[in-house]
Amino acid sequence: MNDERKLCLSGKGLTKVFGLGRQKTVAVDHVDFAFHEGEIISIVGESGSGKTTLAKMLLGLIGETEGEVYFQGVKRDIGSQKKKQNYWKQIQAIFQDPFSSYNIFHKIDEVLLDCIRMRGGGKLPHAKKVEMMTEACSFVNLKFEELTNKYPFELSGGQQQRLMIARIFLLKPKILLADEPTSMIDACSRATILDFLMQLRDEIGMTLIFITHDIGLAYYVSDTVYIMEKGKFVESGSADEVILNPQQPYTRRLLNDVPKIHEEWDLSTV
């Protein structure tokens, strides 16, 4: 493979087991991966494939049972709260359901101020903070003057997801992990969200990891696609390779089951 690119996030034998004894379930089963800097990666799987568990492990929200995660080639160490905070300056996330992603008791200002504080701007003068928040909001085509003193739940789903992107704009992480960022919003808002994500990626040069069940979306946005089934990666490679010329029966089935508009949708294979 082309190893001129710098490794950003990689993993070896990453495994997550829930429960003990008879109730043991292996959610993620010895997966290996290598994400490079600036790359757009999609991890595609159906519900229950373990993709969300993997995402949480990558984010460091849950511990791994076995295996290692390497961040920029070095073994990740998030043993203490301090180290975790440092790690989270590098990797951030956007979640599936914008309506449950915000603390309903906190105003939009607090959400954005948190990000400024995390980037070490807690002591900046208030005017400067407002300027930064205004810039972040205008990046995603929102008006900060209209949002200030409002609560996130007063916005539509699409707007909330854009606010999430504004948050990332302020945080400028190395890696952004987007867990089904468009599955809860309408098709036309989806285009807007994807546009902003791509713009943001170009602007701050981050690595984007999409976690999705939508193989169409994965094909549309990503450079590299990983197909996940029952906790394992069954196929991976460049988007064109994997989607247009799938090798594994599981990938073929997934592709087959998705309705298309240019090719005949073969219903007889159910």
Binding site: A187, S189, R190, Y220, I243, D257, V270
Partner: protein, 335 residues
């Protein structure tokens, strides 16, 4: 031209909120579904497509109220009919309805066969258990559902199986129209495909005479229905064959919607998606002019001033815009 199974003329229904405000979620909608045909309804959430589904059945309960218009099912006008009467003589027999979460509607303490018995007994009180079982078994097998399902409790079935079971039960009386509101959105792609295949089978075998399919997933709609109707802010804005609606939409909103389709097919990777800025209008106070004006690229002052009606275009199509078909095509060409 086939026999008209369902015809709706200028149907208007409203919600009355807790604060006594009227929200016209379905605003002068007209449509026609012929025997053997299926109609798809597309639109973003809040556009009134699910309310339209409820309204079509003539079965109103607060906070939804009938305001005006006609609903004619199989040559029988049911608008303004008493909800009890609708429930007894229309639902199940003339119209069947499958909501998105239909699979959660099965009482977990009952076996599937009990639901079938309930449905049939409501209309044929004399049917014996054996007759019902034989009939249900035959039906289920035709539709590709194993007969053992009848003896199971709903919790023993997977999501996709449950949804297909519910559909099979809903159509057991042979309704003239099946209204399916996002019947597969909560399912994974494989189960979704099975549900779609089943709906196709039902149509092909004449177990349902016509179908209205509601979803926001356009590739799905394209593959399931003959015609597509696009709704925006409680109104119909485009009505055409599925082919025309997806590849040659006339209304700017429909065009935006179709431009946002993402499918895993070669050549579609990285093309520019059409994004529609802004949010739909508040239906408590809809704008007097074109409802899409605020978000439309081609807006003119006239759009905001005059109310826009549906107009006809070539090939039996309809759309709601002040521009003529030719003008729209010119504008789209110059992009």
């Amino acid at each position: 031209m086939g026999k008209v199974m369902l015809e709706v003329r200028e149907l208007t229904t409203k919600y009355i909120t807790r604060f006594n405000e009227d929200i016209y979620a379905v605003d002068h909608v007209s449509l026609k579904v012929e025997e053997g045909k299926s109609l798809g309804i597309a639109g973003e959430s809040g556009c009134g497509k699910s309310t339209l589904a409820l309204s079509l059945m003539g079965y109103y309960f607060p906070p939804l109220y009938y305001t005006s218009g006609d609903i004619i099912i199989n040559e029988r006008n049911i608008s303004g009919m008493d909800p009890d009467e609708v429930r007894k003589s229309i639902l199940g027999k003339e119209i069947a309805y499958i909501p998105q979460a239909a699979m959660n509607a099965l009482n977990p303490t009952q076996k599937v066969i009990n639901f079938v018995e309930d449905v049939i007994h409501a209309h044929e009180p004399t049917a014996t258990k054996k007759d019902i079982y034989d009939m249900a078994r035959q039906r289920f097998e035709i539709l590709g559902l194993p007969a053992e399902v009848l003896q199971k409790y709903s919790v023993e079935l997977s999501g996709g199986m449950k949804q297909r079971t519910v559909i099979a039960i809903s159509v057991i009386l042979g309704p003239k129209v099946l209204i399916a509101d996002e019947p597969s959105s909560a399912l994974d792609v494989t189960s979704q495909k099975m549900v779609i295949k089943m709906l196709r089978d039902l149509m092909d075998r004449g177990m349902i005479k016509s179908m209205i399919f509601i979803t926001h997933e356009l590739p799905l709609l394209y593959n399931v229905t003959d015609d597509i109707m696009v709704m925006y802010a409680g109104q119909m804005v485009e009505h055409a064959t599925a082919e025309q609606a997806v590849f040659d939409p006339l209304h700017p909103y429909a065009r935006g919607l179709m431009g946002s389709i993402i499918v895993p097919e070669s050549g579609l990777r990285g093309h520019k998606l059409a994004a529609i800025p802004g949010v739909p209008p508040n239906l408590k106070k809809p704008p007097s002019g074109c409802r899409f004006a605020e978000r439309c690229k081609y807006v003119t002052p006239t759009c905001r001033a005059v109310s826009v009606n549906m107009r006809e275009a070539a090939n039996d199509r309809e759309y709601r815009c002040i521009f003529a078909e030719q003008e729209l095509r010119e504008m789209y060409k110059n992009e």
